[in-house]
């Protein structure tokens, strides 16, 4: 069953064509990697999916678990189970990590018709998940992303993903700014969340992340469309020959 379906998506940003008829189908239980050079439209794709203002489709359709996203605002999409791990997580001065997490989780639970967690139950759950991600209590007390290191920011993103239990997660350049140790922790966190009921789309420049989060499918994005799809071996080909060879061949 297809959890995420993108059909012939076209989109302009500042009057420039960025997505030029992109199609992609992601089934539950699958991990897809989207690779592409700078400027190929990777971040635009993630903003379009998440419903950021200014990234509305010009034509084409997107479905999340069979439901069209075109009339849904960013927050509705999130509550419906779409998660975006940001390339550059945003600082929220004065907003405590724990209370931010709680608001987010309760919004999702409310949407699902589940009871909102009270403070104690929530803190217990959050601590449990956080410890797996090597996120210390002290970090949850700090303001969201303020003064976090690159690794801490990404760990906090994945912690949120784990708490929100989304249907579809999009990881936008999650490997950027991570050293090898941090990359491993973050990848372990992601892998732990792979189930038969959800799907993950990993957007990345480099093959190295895919050594840790092994995808079922790899797609090459170039100039706003997917020019080639294949298995994990496609990523190795990129690593070996660069994007240029693939793009020229296409």
């Amino acid at each position: 069953m297809s959890l995420l379906e993108i059909k012939n998506a076209k989109l302009k940003v500042d009057n420039k064509d960025i997505l030029k008829g992109l199609s992609l189908s992601v089934n539950s239980g699958e991990v897809h990697a989207i690779m592409g050079p700078n400027g190929s439209g990777k971040s635009t794709l993630s903003y379009m999916l998440a419903g950021r203002d200014g990234y509305e489709l010009e034509s084409g359709k997107v479905f999340l678990d069979g439901q069209s996203l075109s009339d849904m605002e960013a927050d509705e999409r999130a509550r419906s189970g779409l998660f975006l791990a940001f390339q550059y997580p945003v600082e929220l001065p004065g907003v405590g990590g724990m209370s931010f997490l709680r608001e987010a989780v309760n919004s999702r639970r409310k949407f699902l018709g589940e009871e909102e967690l009270d403070h104690l139950a929530f803190v217990k759950e959050a601590r449990k998940v956080a410890s797996k991600m090597f996120v210390k209590d002290e970090m949850l007390k700090r303001a969201v992303n303020v003064g976090f290191s690159g690794g801490e920011k990404k760990r906090f993103e994945i912690l949120q993903m784990a708490m929100l239990k989304p249907k579809v997660s999009i990881l936008d350049e999650t490997d950027s700014g991570l050293d090898v140790d941090a990359l491993k922790i973050v990848s372990d966190g992601v892998n732990e969340q792979r189930t038969n009921d959800n799907a993950i789309v990993v957007i990345t420049h480099y093959q190295r992340l895919l050594d840790y989060i092994v995808p079922d499918f790899v797609h090459i994005l170039s100039d706003g469309i997917i020019i080639k799809s294949g298995g994990p071996e496609l990523a190795l080909e990129v690593e070996k020959n660069g994007y240029a060879g693939l793009i020229n061949a296409a």
Binding site: A78, V90, E91, G96, S99, A104, S107, R108, L164
Partner: protein, 483 residues
């Protein structure tokens, strides 16, 4: 003053069923429109005040006549016609409703969002409650407990009768009648307010709150409060209510005086949520308040915390006069102005004694087409060696039609002191909003979260139960300002 006419009509209507000249009595309980020496005498007479207080009022009235309304604040409003105001009317009983179903649904929604318990909602909205309301019995118990400690906490009109010496000694001692236009007016016509006296060595065992007087008479538009803390004492006083307050009186000119002796600490917290007027600024309260505390004793401390979200116009500068050596003054403020609201608020820290310290943290939030001004004075006098001040003024803008202004005045008359001033202006960024939305928060939740994060340093100064309500209140005040 349409509503007043309504009251009279209603009373007339009801009074036809009463035989004993109810109307006449009630009519006599209302002073005629306008202000004159006779009105001042009328008020004093109605309150059965001693002669010295009447004379004090009259002196204030004469002073007021010779003064001009201040025009230096960054607020703009039509000239007030002081002869078009009633300065005394009998305590108003709110119209009794039979159930919450009769209450304005908009008001109920706000109560709900604030998380005010049903029982309390009923009292606030004026619904007849036929069982003994909890807070009344609680208040009685508390009052007994306070009396046991020797603490006096009562309406100031009561204190004038029961403790005239204390009132006489301290009223106007912090804010003299000639201090400013609105303080002079208040001194002439004040109707009621709170009086607190903490005897030597007593730490007040609970937060004193106007909430406990919720069922008592409305203090009216010219409120006057006096708090005296003797040597080695502590008291925390909460003023106001997060629930929206409507009032038919447009002008409110209150005076609050605090006196702290050696080693005494007074913490005064306010949440102000008067009617701000509609989107275009029609209606709404003019809130012209004078608040000041005297740190008379050594090592005394006065701390003001305010969350100002209501009123069409706010003109308010809670201040500290640091006379005692090593005394401390603090001012923590959140001022929210949305739509057509105008706020000009800040503080004065006057350092007179040696090694005095003051801290000012001001957070101004502007949205809609509101104007929000921080105005603060730090004065270090010649003998205030070793004194320090730290000021931080942060402004947050929501939208592109509002304004934030910071006007600091620093006068330093000794080189042996340190004054620091920091100021920032920021906007809620699109990135921040999108990040929150992507986590499933709606625009209003997101705004509220970001704004409350911005005010955190001030909110943590509020007593716990107040802080939770105040946070929600800030969110509600900014509804519809983003997106």
């Amino acid at each position: 003053m349409v509503a007043t006419q309504e009251t009279i009509d209603k009373v007339k209507e009801v009074s036809s069923t009463y035989k004993y000249g109810f109307v006449t009595d009630l009519e006599a309980d209302k002073a005629p429109l306008g202000l004159s020496e006779d009105i001042v005498k009328f008020i004093s007479h109605k309150k059965k005040e001693p002669k010295w207080l009447l004379e004090w009022r009259l002196k204030a009235y004469k002073k007021w006549l010779s003064m001009e309304a201040p025009d230096w604040a960054m607020v703009d409003f039509p000239k007030i016609n002081f002869q078009d105001i009633y300065y005394y009317s009998a305590p108003k009983t709110k119209p009794k409703l039979n159930s919450l179903d009769e209450v304005d649904p908009e008001l109920l929604r706000t109560y709900e969002k604030l998380g005010i318990p049903i029982k309390e909602q009923k009292v606030l909205a004026g619904v007849a409650v036929d069982y003994v309301f909890d807070s009344v019995s609680v208040a009685t118990t508390f009052r007994k407990k306070l009396a046991k400690e020797g603490i006096i906490f009562c309406p100031i009109s009561e204190a004038v009768q029961s403790h005239p010496d204390l009132v006489k000694k301290y009223i106007g001692s912090v804010i003299p009648i000639s201090d400013n236009y609105y303080a002079a007016l208040n001194s002439a016509v004040f109707t009621d307010g709170s009086f607190v006296y903490i005897p030597k060595g007593v730490k007040c065992p609970m937060e004193l709150s106007t909430y406990f007087r919720i069922n008592e008479q409305n203090s009216g538009q010219f409120e006057r409060t006096l708090i005296i803390a003797e040597d080695n004492t502590y008291v925390s006083y909460l003023e106001g209510c997060t629930a929206p307050q409507r009032d038919e009186n447009q002008l409110h000119a209150a005076v609050v005086e605090l006196v702290a002796m050696n080693n005494a600490e007074i913490k005064y917290s306010t949440v102000q949520n008067w009617y701000p007027g509609d989107k275009d600024g029609k209606g709404g309260i003019y809130n012209f308040v004078t608040k000041r505390g005297n740190c008379l004793g050594q090592k005394s401390k006065i701390s003001w915390t305010q969350v100002e979200t209501g009123s069409a116009i706010t003109w308010k500068y809670p201040s500290c006069v640091l006379k005692g050596d090593d005394s401390v003054g603090e001012f923590y403020s959140v001022a929210v102005a949305n739509n057509a609201q105008q706020a000009d608020t800040g503080t004065k820290m006057i350092h007179i004694g040696k090694n005095t310290k003051s801290t000012i943290i001001s957070k101004g939030i502007s949205a809609g087409k509101a104007q929000n001004t921080y105005r603060g004075q730090v004065q270090i006098q010649k003998n205030a060696r070793g004194s320090r001040n730290f000021t931080q003024c942060d402004s947050l803008l929501i939208g592109d039609k509002c304004g934030a202004h910071t006007v600091p005045y620093i006068n330093q008359f000794t080189p042996y002191a340190r004054v620091e001033h920091e100021a920032t202006t920021s906007k809620i960024s699109e990135d921040q909003l999108f990040y929150c939305l992507q986590r499933g928060l709606d625009t209003e939740q997101a705004t509220s979260l970001i704004v409350n994060g911005f005010c955190k340093e001030v909110m943590k100064e509020l007593p716990m139960e107040f802080a939770v309500e105040a946070q929600k209140l800030i969110g509600i005040s900014l509804e519809g300002s983003v997106g």
